[in-house]
């Protein structure tokens, strides 16, 4: 049984539809990340699961029961908000106790749970402080603790790390991963940060304009993107995209001629407009010219330590290549770029869909 199920879920604000019929299954104990640019409907979707937004149409189930009309308090979910939403007039302890009040537990049980979660999250020293006396990272942990004491069926996270500085973000991200490993609770997590999504998720749901573009493991969305949107959204720097045509079994793109890898041979039609996609690490510098290379000029080099990024110009095309930093060419150098045929993606230009099978 799935922990959360969305079937053709639609959200409208008046006449404007912002989420267009989403289908999604979140399995028991799974860590699912909703990933997408701002305004893609991911937070709206999360808030529908929490019960903070009405579902305009479709079915939303938690633990097998349809919850469209169920109040947030009766859904068995706990949520960590982007801005933490701590009660400023309560101490850290009271903040955590407050989410246990509706359960009417005996006082010693309440105290036990709060103490346990507080020690897990390193909040034991801070229990008598108020939110205003805490740092951003500490507030974030209190918000998580407040969700944890209830031992809910489902955790919902709404961009919980976006208000933290880079170093703290990495640290808390690790804590969240450890926490999920230990508790094994189902998690639905919203972010626009692909690093968070890749590192935390069992399953990534990539959204755009109220649609789901792809659902898959981090490996799947990275190595087998469904379409050009996913291909360019995942990965940093993004995948190089080159418009091309199929001509006599080869890919021709304005001065660039590449052979078609065997795996695409059956699906391509002569003169079909395709988009070649290749990640920066699929490009390398070659000594010899063959049917998988193209001449290019180095415009800019970006030194990253172990690797360097080369901004290349090959005819009208701008490419980014990731090469070993040692022995990188200088800006202005003329080089030969090798396109790794195994790293090549092909998309139908009209639909944007992947042509991989």
């Amino acid at each position: 049984m799935s922990a959360i199920t969305l079937r053709n879920v639609i959200k409208r604000y008046g006449a404007v539809e912002v989420v267009h019929g989403i289908d999604l299954d979140v399995e028991e104990g799974e860590f699912v990340v909703l990933l997408g640019p701002s305004g893609c409907g991911k937070t709206t979707t999360l808030r529908m699961v929490a019960g903070l937004e009405d579902v305009s149409d479709g079915d939303l189930s938690i633990g097998g029961a349809r919850v469209n009309e169920v109040a947030p308090k009766d859904r068995g979910v706990a949520m960590v908000f982007q801005n933490y939403a701590l009660y400023p007039h309560m101490t850290v302890r009271q903040n955590m106790e407050f989410s246990l009040k509706p359960l009417s537990l005996p006082a010693d049980e309440v105290a036990r749970r709060v103490d346990e979660v507080a020690s897990t999250l390193g909040l034991a020293e801070l229990l008598s402080r108020r939110p205003a006396q805490l740092s951003g990272g500490q507030r974030q942990r209190v918000a998580m603790g407040r969700a944890m004491v209830r031992t809910p069926d489902v955790f919902l996270f709404d961009e919980p790390l976006s208000n933290l500085d880079a170093k703290l973000r990495t640290q808390v991200r690790l804590e969240i991963a450890k926490l999920h490993n230990r508790l094994g609770t189902t998690v639905l997590y919203v972010t626009h940060d692909q690093v968070e999504a890749m590192t935390l998720a069992d399953k990534i749901v990539i959204m755009r304009d109220g649609h789901i573009e792809q659902v898959g493991t981090p490996e799947q969305v990275y190595s087998q993107p469904n379409n050009t949107f996913v291909a360019t959204f995942i990965g940093s720097p993004p995948m190089n995209m080159i418009p091309a045509r199929v001509r006599q079994g080869r890919l021709e793109a304005d001065g660039l001629l590449l052979s078609v890898p065997d795996r695409f041979k059956g699906v391509l039609a002569e003169d079909q407009a395709v988009t070649i996609g290749i990640r920066p690490n699929g490009l390398s510098l070659a000594k010899d010219v063959d049917h998988n290379t193209a001449p290019a000029r180095v415009e800019v080099t970006e030194y990253l330590g172990n690797e360097a990024l080369l901004d290349l110009r090959a005819g009208p095309h701008e490419l980014i290549a990731e090469v070993p930093a040692l022995g990188r060419p200088a800006p202005g150098a003329e080089v030969t770029v090798h396109f790794d045929p195994d790293a090549l993606h092909l998309f139908d230009t009209a639909s944007g869909d992947s042509l991989s099978l």
């Binding site: 929490a50 019960g51 109040a71 949520m79 801005n83 933490y84 400023p88 407040r146």
Partner: protein, 274 residues
């Protein structure tokens, strides 16, 4: 901020001194006249040094049931304050949270209750209360004062509720709390300064009100301000007793404001979000 220079300090303290004199002179006159023996009451220049007497206070409570009038005033003022703050807060919360395009019209309609001149409705009120048998009862005054106090409370509290982040209420809702619990334990405590301000305004208005109290009460429900004026007759003006009464009337207002003062702090929602 820079430390003020000596000249600035002198200027500030001079202005403060003038303000103090302007505001405190009437109080001084009330207090001094209330303990001044009648024979020297109108002496010119005013007697600054005299043997104070409590005769006026004794007369105040001996000749009239002034204690009862004070009690009436307290019942009316506290009653209207509690009633107005309670219902005004609930209404304000609804106006603040319910998103509807005509909600501003509702808010304006409530405010418009305060726009008519009070004197215009004295006679209708008199007829209504006479008909339903509430004339000369504290309940009549509580109702009348609340019609003025509730709009004020609604508008004050709406502003305070608007400032309480809805994320806090959403957090409480997801944490398993219902609407009443959220309002009572999250929203209202964070709007406590608004409650204090509303209560102070309602109390002072109701405590000081004279026109309706004069027209709608008789011997039974008469309030202290009206009672004090009864020492002003066509035969004589009993200044000593009027001043003694005025001073007694001042005290509950001051006590009430000081009680509410500790809630008049801003920044309660600090640290809640971000």
């Amino acid at each position: 901020m820079n430390k003020p220079s000596t000249q600035q300090a002198i200027l500030v303290y001079t202005l403060l001194g003038i303000a103090l004199i302007v505001f405190m002179t009437p109080i001084y006159l009330i207090v001094s006249s209330s303990v001044k023996p009648s024979p020297i009451m109108f002496q010119r220049p005013p007697a600054m040094i005299f043997e104070p007497t409590l005769d006026h206070y004794r007369d105040l409570f001996a000749m009239r049931p002034f204690g009862k009038f004070i009690a009436n005033s307290l019942i009316v003022a506290l009653g209207s304050t509690v009633f107005s703050v309670f219902f005004g807060s609930i209404a304000a919360y609804a106006i603040s949270r319910i998103k509807h395009k005509r909600m501003n019209d509702v808010a304006f309609w409530i405010l418009s209750m305060r726009m008519f001149p009070p004197i215009a409705v004295v006679v209708p009120y008199y007829i209504i209360f006479k008909t339903v048998g509430l004339l000369d009862t504290p309940i009549a005054l509580i109702i009348v004062y609340s019609t003025a106090n509730i709009p004020l409370t609604v508008w004050l509290m709406k502003g305070f509720f608007d400032e309480v982040p809805t994320a806090l209420e959403e957090a409480a809702a997801v944490d398993g709390h219902g609407l009443i619990s959220i309002f009572w334990k999250v929203t209202l405590p964070l709007a406590a300064p608004g409650l204090a301000v509303s209560a102070v305004f309602c109390f002072i208005f109701s405590w000081n009100e004279f026109l309706f109290a004069l027209m709608l009460t008789g011997s039974n429900a008469q309030t202290a301000p009206v009672a004090v004026m009864s020492f002003w007759s066509s035969d004589a003006v009993q200044w000593g007793r009027i001043m003694a009464g005025s001073f007694v009337i001042l005290i509950p207002g001051v006590v009430f404001v000081l009680t509410c003062q500790r809630w008049l702090v801003r920044g309660l929602t600090m640290g809640s979000v971000k």
